[in-house]
């Protein structure tokens, strides 16, 4: 279980997170939503320990990761897989080597075992035949899927998705959403999805946390989200529905 307790963070005196608390249950898919610049990605970086809070605690399996040493933090990070917004693929390696990288670095598997493991990961993200392709030759959606294959290579306990569908067309977004849902089911992973895409949230999330103006404004299940009368939340959801509507409407200009 991951618990974020009363986290406060500021950059150059400007608060970016204020009194943020959140509990992420084991095995669930938690969406963190909010406008651009609301503090979602900063919260995500706190959960993985890339940023330390000015105040408050981040507990991963009851360990406060804001207080532990760098080497202890590195051990905890190995329980996480992270899909970064742009994929963050290593451009000095081809697709296969990107997926193989964590296996070569952190396990003592033989080349044959690594090859099999990489193929399994590529099959899971439905990209079985692109292993030898350079990362620069991949489309945006393919890059995200290769990055996803790399993120699950070590079979992490938690996986964090930072804007998994941003910059993708609706069809590719649906493929990514489906993948996230399937991986959560097949690998029994706890997923944390940072996004402002409500279409994604409704497809994949069990729980939703809405950050507004650097504060945790609302938390609840996806069902509760539909029934909420909170005006700020409704306005955010409605704005997204409008965007989704214009994307899908055959009559849209």
């Amino acid at each position: 279980m991951i618990r974020v307790e009363n986290v406060y963070k500021s950059f150059a005196g400007r608060p970016v997170l204020q009194d943020v608390s959140l509990t992420i249950r084991e095995g669930s898919t938690q969406a963190i939503i909010g406008r651009s610049g609301s503090g979602k990605s900063v919260l995500m970086k706190h959960i993985i320990g890339l940023l330390r809070p000015d105040q408050g605690r981040i507990l991963v399996n009851h360990t406060d990761i804001s207080k532990i040493s760098y080497n202890e933090l590195r051990k905890i990070r190995r329980q996480f897989g992270v899909l970064f917004q742009g994929g963050a693929l290593f451009d000095s390696m081809d697709s296969f080597e990107n997926v193989a990288f964590p296996l070569r670095t952190f396990t003592s598997k033989t080349d044959q075992e690594i090859r099999q493991e990489v193929q399994t990961c590529l099959d899971l993200v439905q990209l079985s035949n692109v292993g030898s392709k350079s990362t620069s030759a991949l489309s945006g959606g393919m890059r995200k899927r290769i990055a996803l294959a790399r993120a699950i290579a070590l079979r992490p306990r938690y996986i964090i998705y930072d804007e998994p569908t941003s910059g993708l067309d609706p069809e590719t977004s649906n493929t990514i959403n489906e993948l996230i849902r399937n991986l959560a089911r097949h690998l029994e992973i706890t997923s944390i999805v940072v996004t402002h895409d409500m279409h994604s949230v409704l497809q994949i999330a069990d729980h939703v946390a809405f950050i507004h103006d650097t504060r945790m404004h609302w938390t609840g299940t996806t069902e509760e989200l539909h029934q909420s009368n909170d005006t700020i939340l409704r306005s955010f959801v409605k704005a997204n529905e409008y965007v989704i509507g214009t994307h899908h409407s055959p009559n849209s200009p």
Binding site: L50, Y70, K75, R78, F84, Q85, A88, D91, P102
Partner: protein
């Protein structure tokens, strides 16, 4: 912090950040086994791949020094063998190390800063950290080690090729015969010269790689930030080589 104070404090902040970065790199030497392969790759990129351009620069430095020494010194009262006595120490004590340093500032320093800068702005460094890898150990230690080990090797190659260039120029222009050139060089040879040059090249190797790693690792912004880092790395490396050259001359001569 007011802008004026920030500008004054910036160089001190950079020195502090550089010191912390280098001490973190030093601490991660314990995990050198993990970074061995990466170190070998960097030794090839920094050392072996730089040989052609260093050889070209060294050959021309030796040739030009020979021709200019002949123009300035040789007269009916001074024997031609003095050319060898001037050119060889010039190469071993100064030109071999400094010319190699300048060439590598542009070739290696700029490359390191561009590589690390791009990795920073595309979240590849965050991805390494999120996997539980020590990014300083993985990216910086191999480059600095390769610089320290390979720049002295390049210095030796530059001296040998520089002397050969000087000999070739002497023969081709007819200012002195090879035999007299070698005789002059041997008669006035001081073993401290090569040692002094080796110490210099070792220091230059550290400065070029460490400063470029620092600038690249802390790149901010997108393509513009990478461009600024690349230029800064080349310029800063050249400036530090000049300062270190003077400091070492004052301290060791």
């Amino acid at each position: 912090m007011p802008l004026g104070v920030l500008r004054v404090a910036q160089p001190f902040m950079n020195i502090g950040r550089f010191t912390i970065l280098m001490s973190s790199a030093f601490m991660s030497l314990r995990e050198l086994k993990t970074y061995r392969q990466n170190t070998q790759i960097q030794m090839v990129r920094i050392g072996i791949e730089s040989i052609p351009i260093v050889a070209l620069a060294a050959a021309f430095s030796g040739a030009v020094t020979t021709v200019q020494t002949a123009y300035q010194l040789v007269s009916p009262l001074i024997p031609p063998k003095i050319i060898g006595a001037v050119v060889v120490p010039s190469l071993t004590m100064e030109l071999g190390a400094v010319v190699t340093g300048f060439i590598l500032s542009g070739r290696v320093g700029a490359r390191i800063a561009a590589e690390l800068g791009t990795m920073r702005v595309t979240e590849q460094i965050d991805a390494l950290e999120a996997m539980g890898l020590n990014s300083i150990g993985y990216l910086i230690v191999p480059r600095v080690l390769a610089g320290i080990l390979m720049v002295p090797v390049l210095y030796v190659a530059a001296c040998v090729i520089g002397v050969l260039g000087g000999l070739a120029a002497a023969e081709l222009t007819g200012v002195v015969s090879s035999a007299e050139f070698i005789l002059g060089a041997r008669e006035h040879f001081d073993t401290f010269g090569p040692y002094f040059g080796l110490i210099k090249s070792f220091v230059f190797g550290f400065l070029i790689t460490a400063v470029s790693c620092h600038i690249g690792y802390f790149t901010e912004g997108g393509a513009d930030g990478v461009g600024r880092s690349t230029t800064s790395a080349a310029v800063m490396s050249c400036v530090l080589i000049l300062i270190a050259d003077l400091v070492l001359a004052v301290l060791l001569l």
